[in-house]
């Protein structure tokens, strides 16, 4: 986490001029505050009633307040207080948080129970409210400010560090040290604490902004340093009644707090952001401002002489310039077709581009990938001009998809019946009044009990969930089924049953199937024809029996030789 943080930060600063500017500004401000006695010779508490409420000038860069005190001097000296309190509070909070968190996580049992309850109770208060109450009971002043902030901030850290400790304590090397009889303090100090330094630093960074906000809020409420000593929150409070005549009294400390908190939050935001760079599903134009124009191509003709799916010289490249692989070619002029009632097996090792090809058949190619050459035809229609809305009418209706991992393929918060039913509701293939009957029928066809309709995905096993996915794919009686490694995530006996189900349903519905797998035995069991893909190129193609019996290419022969139990070679199709 610490590595990622520093790496992200370094890269971000290079790419991110705004961050660099922010860092420079806040660095300058902090430096000015630290060097306040050198920078300005003005006493921040010296009153001069002859110079009250003067606007900013060369003598008083930020004007004067209602006691004639120099706002710039007060800002710098006040910043020393604010930042010092924040620094002390961070050290105390981290100290208590680390000790309590590690103790609770490492020792467990009664220690964990007692500390855990203490943490729970303190977290049952809104943080700032408890801080205000503590500071109020202690009567204000800088000590009570530090105590109040520390008292309310440590429980959240202790809780997170407890979880980290639990994780680290179960690592092999810590277990080994325990077994070797290493003293507890050395395990905690050496192994556990060293591993926690990274997370601790990141946590401190993430929360620094909130800490500074809380400190200035308490000062604003009069619970910080006693007047006339300056502090940013307190200065803002002194100035707000005079906002109309002397806005600089409010704007100067307000902007100072804002700048410091903003930069803390800005870098915390970068450190925290790990969601970027993943493929996001759905249309790119989520908000369709104009109604999509009438779709030109679909629905597809039911009976056509053309193959259901035809790739001609298909080329796919990484086109996103932000991707480290930009410019890399994933598919090199691939040709492949699937006819009616035909099962084509697409074989390839991982990274060969076979899943990319499968997604292409659904119009689900996503950035950073894009189709850069060749044509994809569905039932003879060129799909090049199809937009998301055109594809939408084809997906789930004429082309069904069965994916690799059934555990993550179903929405966790919707029932099975809802998820199968909506596939029918999205298309006109099944008339509305026939849908309940069709739902019962399809559930039965994939071999699931009728009661499964009202259940949620987490109540089903992996094999059952894959049957649900198959039901969703065939409920509208499509002509083409794309099966992308549909059995890879299942155990061996379930694999075979799912495989047989897909083959039987294929025959029953007269489906054309594009069956993608890295497993030759699986392909041998279902496919009429095979296409062997390697590094984005078709290596060999032909009838399954012929290719398996007499492989022509060296690569294919190597693949065949790698099948476990090869000495009984000719029986491959029997596996």
């Amino acid at each position: 986490m610490a590595d990622r943080f520093s790496r992200n930060l370094g890269a971000a600063l290079r790419r991110d001029p705004l961050g660099a500017v922010l860092l420079a500004l806040v660095g300058a401000l902090v430096l000015l505050c630290l060097l306040a006695p050198v920078v300005t010779r003005t006493d921040p508490t010296a009153t001069d009633f002859a110079r009250m409420l003067m606007p900013p000038s060369t003598g008083n860069w930020l004007g004067t307040d209602d006691f004639g005190r120099d706002v710039f001097a007060r800002l710098l000296f006040g910043g020393r207080t604010s930042l010092a309190v924040a620094a002390v509070a961070v050290v105390i909070v981290m100290g208590i948080g680390v000790v309590v968190g590690i103790a609770a996580g490492y020792f467990g049992g009664v220690v964990d129970l007692v500390l855990g309850k203490l943490i729970d109770v303190l977290l049952a208060f809104p943080r700032l409210v408890l801080a205000i109450a503590v500071a109020a009971l202690m009567g204000g002043g800088i000590t009570s400010l530090i105590v109040a902030i520390s008292a309310v901030a440590w429980p959240a850290y202790a809780r997170i560090l407890r979880a980290f400790t639990l994780q680290v304590a179960n690592e092999g090397y810590v277990q080994a040290a325990r077994t070797l009889g290493t003293p507890v303090w050395r395990i905690l100090g050496g192994h556990v604490a060293l591993n926690l330094i990274g997370p601790i630093l990141v946590l401190a960074m993430l929360d620094l902004g909130n800490l500074i906000l809380a400190i200035s809020a308490l000062s604003f409420l009069g619970l910080g340093v006693a007047p006339p000593a300056p502090e940013w929150g307190a200065m803002l409070n002194e100035g707000r009644a005079l906002m109309e005549i002397a806005p600089w009294m409010v704007v100067a400390p307000g902007m100072a707090i804002f700048l410091v908190v903003l930069s803390a939050n800005y870098f915390a935001d970068i450190a925290r952001d790990s969601t970027e760079g993943r493929a996001v599903h759905g249309p790119r134009d989520w908000i369709a401002w104009r109604r999509p124009r009438a779709a030109p191509a679909p629905p597809l003709p039911a009976a056509a002489t053309a193959p259901l799916l035809a790739f001609e010289g298909v080329t796919v490249d990484v086109v996103d310039p932000r991707s480290p692989y930009c410019g890399r070619r994933i598919l090199h002029g691939v040709g492949l077709s699937v006819g009616p009632r035909e099962c084509v097996g697409l074989i390839g090792e991982s990274g060969s581009g076979k899943s990319t090809l499968a997604m292409l058949a659904m119009g689900l190619t996503r950035p950073p990938l894009a189709l850069t050459g060749g044509t994809v035809r569905l039932s003879g229609r060129d799909t090049a001009a199809w937009r998301w809305d055109d594809w939408r009418r084809v997906r789930g209706c004429h082309v069904g998809l069965v994916n690799q991992d059934p555990l993550s393929a179903l929405n966790p918060v919707l029932t099975i019946g809802e998820q199968i039913g909506e596939a029918m509701a999205a298309h006109d293939a099944v008339p509305p009044d026939a849908r309940p009957a069709r739902l019962r029928e399809v559930v039965d066809e994939v071999g699931l009990p009728a009661s499964v309709v009202g259940r949620y995905p987490h109540e089903l096993s992996g094999g059952m969930r894959q049957r649900v996915v198959i039901a969703m794919a065939i409920v509208n009686r499509p002509a083409l089924l794309i099966a992308d490694e549909p059995t890879t995530a299942l155990d061996v006996s379930t694999q075979r049953r799912i495989l047989d189900l897909i083959r039987d349903l294929g025959q029953h519905y007269g489906l054309g199937v594009l069956f993608v797998s890295h497993d030759l035995r699986v392909i041998a069991r279902v496919a009429d024809r095979v296409v062997i893909l390697r590094e984005g190129r078709v290596v060999e193609t032909g009838a399954t029996a012929a290719v398996f019996a007499v492989p022509r290419e060296a690569y294919t022969r190597a693949l065949m030789a790698a099948i476990p139990g090869q000495h009984r070679q000719p029986q491959v199709a029997e596996v």
Binding site: L137, N265, T275, H281, G282, A423, M472
Partner: protein, 320 residues
């Protein structure tokens, strides 16, 4: 559902008892004698504790419930609270419960209006940010939430008063002068928590959109509306609700600050006024009230959470 609600309710009551212990102990672990501190505020500034009579101190200690062994003190104090007696304000000599009750509607109005502002900002901004991730709408929504999280609400409040009340004269600046008075305080408090919620919602929705089940939903040919509202938004709201105590804590803590900025007739301002006079019973009563409100809000969130996430439903069925 009932079993789950019951279990959460028991946990909430346990947390409430925990908070009474904390509030009780706080007054007793602070350095110095509270009674002496209170009496000193009533004397001239600069007077020393030597000028206080022992009898006065003892009398006040008794009134604050500070005499006798700790467990007995706690049980007596707790007994009074359970009977609805939060004590008497040292300044006004009125029962605290009545004084609080008169100000609770003010705080609840402010909190509800701020939650409304939060939802009105955070839902569209968070959703738009995630749907347009990496594009200009997203950059704008992230920049705004960064600003919202970093701008201290007391600074924002003062700026809004200056702009809308003093300069444009559209809205009243202080106190309660009709329903329009709530606009500025609610904007001040609502925008801050909206920023946090926007960030949480954006990250969570983005995470949901990259899940394989979204690919499968799209492969079924579902419409945009169904994909977003039926498939993406509901699972995405679950982590946001998990983190909601952060937001609710910010709401209640911020309410104290915002009530002070706008002289708003609520419990927060009542409490801040009590500080100068060292009105310890009021500070205790306020802390208990805020903790109770916080625990109650979190309880409501727990119930909502369960309605959204079927995975918890089963766990409950199995265990209870």
């Amino acid at each position: 559902m009932l079993a789950y609600a019951l279990r959460r309710a028991v946990a909430a009551v346990a947390a409430l008892f925990g908070t009474t212990v904390v509030v009780f102990l706080l007054l007793r672990v602070i350095p110095g004698d509270p009674a002496t501190a209170v009496l000193l505020t009533m004397l001239d500034p600069g007077a020393g504790s030597a000028e206080l009579s022992r009898a006065d101190i003892e009398a006040l200690r008794a009134e604050l419930g500070l005499s006798g062994p700790l467990p007995v003190q706690y049980l007596e104090w707790l007994g009074e609270i359970l009977r609805g007696n939060l004590g008497t304000s040292l300044r006004s000599r009125q029962p605290i419960l009545g004084e609080l009750a008169a100000r609770i509607p003010g705080t609840l109005t402010l909190a509800a209006a701020s939650l409304g502002v939060m939802l009105a900002i955070a839902l569209p901004c968070g959703v738009l940010g995630a749907l347009h991730a990496g594009r200009s709408a997203d950059h704008l929504s992230r920049a705004l939430s960064l600003l919202g999280e970093s701008l201290p609400n007391f600074f924002l409040g003062v700026l809004l008063v200056y702009l809308f009340a003093l300069w444009l004269r559209w809205l009243p600046s202080m106190g309660w002068q009709g329903p329009e008075s709530v606009v500025l305080p609610a904007l001040t408090l609502g925008t801050g928590i909206a920023a946090t919620t926007t960030r949480l919602l954006r990250a969570s929705l983005l995470d949901t959109l990259s899940q394989p089940f979204m690919l499968m939903a799209e492969a079924k040919g579902l419409s945009r509306r169904r994909l977003l509202f039926r498939h993406a938004l509901r699972p995405a709201l679950i982590p946001v609700l998990t983190a909601s105590s952060l937001v609710l804590g910010g709401l209640l803590g911020g309410a104290v600050v915002v009530e002070t900025v706008f002289a708003w007739p609520g419990v927060g301002r009542y409490m801040i006024e009590a500080i100068a006079g060292r009105d310890y019973p009021v500070i205790q009563g306020f802390s208990l009230f805020m903790a109770t409100l916080f625990i109650a809000l979190n309880f409501v969130v727990d119930i909502l959470y369960r309605l959204l996430d079927p995975r918890i439903r089963v766990e409950v069925r199995r265990h209870g």
